[in-house]
Every structure is written in structure tokens, then in C-alpha cells.
Amino acid sequence: MKGLIAFLMAAFIAGLLSTARVAYAEPGVPNPLRIGSEGYYPPFNFVDQSGQLKGFDIDIAMALCERLKVECKLVAQDWDGIIPALLAGKYDAIVASMSITDERKKVVSFTDKYYSNKVRFVAAKGGGFDPGKLDGKTIGTQRATIAANWLAKNAGGAKVKLYDKQTDAYLDLAARRLDAIFADGLVLHEWLKTKAGAGFEMVGDAYELDEGIGIAVRKEDNVLRQRLNAALAAMLADGTYAAINARYFPFSIY
């Protein structure tokens, strides 16, 4: 009995030590590399039927880990807590279609962009929605996004509804609670192809509100950032990136 307890204690302490110790494969790159993503942002990150995180972001993250010769450990995290959780050390990098913005740069560092995006309105086909006349309209967007920030400043007399997940906003647009959704054009493009999105279309101009989509790391992890940048550049050069891109879009999104 005593032996068993001693064994369990030893096992427990060993477990503690192994998680506490950060093993570096290369200087500055922890192994495993813990990647934070979300899971409600198809086709960039979503949870498939088997409960696995999938999507463009995830493929990019996996390819980066492979190149850095580290194991990738994916962590699903609600969007509006994704930066606080990075700062709290729950993972080492965010690969979740995060826009590079000046506000975010105050708290995290970004790698070079890994794709480009523009923000668009989507509204009912033939509904006469006009982005120039937002007064009195109800616009849906995801909380803690560049689209939400833009609406906070420019929506005027429109009512802005904030969603935790992009997919929840689709439900409310389909239910006609919303006149329009303001969100990433590539993500909307994907939704418009679905059955639920059939009655809707992009309306108005495309807004360029960020410096592209990047991977966020903690400010002190500069070496990790540089390694990720080098790996990203290599993937772009040798066609790995193009292959991943082709799985999701018939055109380049870089």
C-alpha cells in the first residue's frame, strides 16, 4: 500500500515536472508548440464531424510545425478570449485568421502575413441593402474583430449586434433578424456557397481594414516569431503554401 502511494506520488510529480519543463527543439521554439485557434470560422478553422480542428489555418500551423521539427498541439479557444489566453501562456501562438492591426500590436507581436483579406457586407439578394445608408439597419458582426471595430466607429444610426461566433451571425441573418453581416470576404464567400447562404449576396465595396492576416505571439517571443517567419517564407517559396491554398480556394489568397 505504502509502495503504491509512493509510486503514485512519484508518477504525479514526474507528470508535473514534464509539463512544467519546456523542452526546446531549437532555441526559441518550444516543443510541443502549442497553437491557439478557434473552430467556428470555416473554411479557415472549424471542427469536423470527428471533433478535430480543421481548415486553412490548421493546415498552415501543421506545415509550420513540420518545418520547425516540433510537435503541434492545437488548443481550441473562444475568439474573444484568444489574445488574453495567449498572454496568459495557455499556448504559444495564435493561428486563427487574426488580422494584423495597430491595436493588437500594442499587446502581441505578429509574424508576416500568411494571407490577405477584405471585409464585406452580405445581405439578402435583391433586398436593396445599401452600405451607404446604414441608419436604422441592424448589422451583425463578430465581437472582437476588425469588422466590429469599424462598425463601432462608422455604423452611425445602425444597430450593431455582436456575436461570439461568426457561425451564430449566419443563423441570425438567415432568420432575418439582421439586415446584413459585416465580415471577412473570404469567410462570407464560403458561407454563400452553402444552402443557408443561397439567398444572400455580397453588397457594396470591399474594405481593407488590416495589414493582412498574421500569426500572433507574445512580444517577448521574438525568436519564435523569426523562426515562424522563416518557415513561412520557405513554405511560400517551395509551393507548400500554394498546395494548401488550393485545397480551399481556386485563387491565391496570399
Binding site: 474573444d80 478570449g81 489574445i83 488574453p84 498572454l87 491595436e103 500594442k106 499587446v107 451583425g140 465581437r143 472582437a144 466590429a148 471595430n149 463601432a152 449586434k161 455582436l162 456575436y163 461570439d164 451564430d168 443563423l171 441570425d172 432568420a175 432575418r176 433578424r177
Partner: protein, 244 residues
Amino acid sequence: MMAALHGMAAESTAQLLAGAWLTMQLTALAMLVGTTLAFPLALMRTSRHGWLRAPAYGYVFFFRGTPLLVQIFLVYYGLAQFEAIRDGFLWPVLGEAYWCAIIAFSLNTAAYTAEILRGGMLAVPLGEREAARALGFSRWQEIRLIVLPRAVRQALPAYGNEVILMLKGSALASTITLLELTGVARTLIARTYLAVEFFALAGLIYLLLTLLIVRGVRLLERRWALPGQAIETVPGTRHGDLLA
């Protein structure tokens, strides 16, 4: 810089207070409707007739057995899936996140409050019911004049608990786009990344609201206390000793 910071602090505070006001509305309305529903439910649960007991049992079982988050999603996103509902006369109500939250919260708290009330009713001394019957009270008179007044008094402390749980449960309204206290805090955090600061502030406001509820319930307990059963919680008094 300082002026800008002060401006931001003032604006954030105003937004948090607006959120707290919405939280209070949601909690108060849900408790009002839920408690009203709880009386017939509790009476049905304690009925002699199986056909009255069964549906009440089923109701309580369903609403206690599923998460509040699931219930609020079913009411808000679920019902809106049906064309018939969107075209129906109830859409002006069901289309609004505010009323969806109130409906879900009311139905949920009705189940718990009914059980609290049932507990209070079962704790009414049998002798008092027998006395009512000996005096020739009808069954309805017995319930209305003897059982319920006693049951409500006995259920009050547990009911206070339920109000507090509802207050905190109302945070789930933020998942259906309502900017109640938690929703405002999350939005402010999204803008500033001051997660600890704003959650702590929101927590403090919840704490103050809870204090109000605790005080309110105690006031009711005192007011409704039967002679000789005055609730005194000051240590050293007879009742305080009993509690200790």
C-alpha cells in the same frame, strides 16, 4: 493622454452600468414571470391527481435536466429556424433577443422555484393541515390560507438562492447578442485586452447586486416572520444561537 484615459474610463463605466441595468431587468422580469409560473407548477406537483402531477413533473425534469445555455439557444436560434415562427404573430416577440432571454430564463427558473415551493409546502406541519380540515376548510381554502402562506415563508431562504443563481445565469444572455453586464465586459475586453480589470469590475458589480438581493430577501423574511419566530441573525440572540 491622461484626459483620453479618463474619457475612456468614464465611457467604460457608463457602459458597464448600462449593462448592469439590463442584467437587473432580465433577472427581475425572469423572476417575476418564473415565480408566477412556479405556483401552479408546485400545486400540480403536489396534487393527488396523476394527470396533474405528470406534466408538472415532466416540465421540471426537462428544465432542470438541460443546461440553461442550451435552453436559451433553443429559444433564440432554434425557434427562428422555422419559417412558420418567423411569419407567425409571435415573431415581434421571438425575434427580439431581449424577450427570448426573458422567456428562456423564466421557464428555467419556474422549474427550480416550483421545486423550492414544493419543499416549503411539504414542510408545513401536518397538524396545521389537520386543524384546517377540522375547522371545515375546503381543500382550496386549506391550500390558500394555511399551506401556501407557511410554505412561502419556509421557502424564502432557498428562493433567495435561486434569485442569486438567476442573476449570475443571466450572463448567458451575452451569447445571444445582449449587452448585459458580462456582454459589456467582454466587449470592452475585446477592445482593450484588459481582461482581468474588466472582469474584476463586472464581478464587483455582480457582488453588489447580490448584496441587494440578500438584503431584500432578509427584509421579506423579517416582514413575513410569524410572531415568536422572528428571524434574528445577530449572534448572542436566541435565534442566532440556534443558527450557530
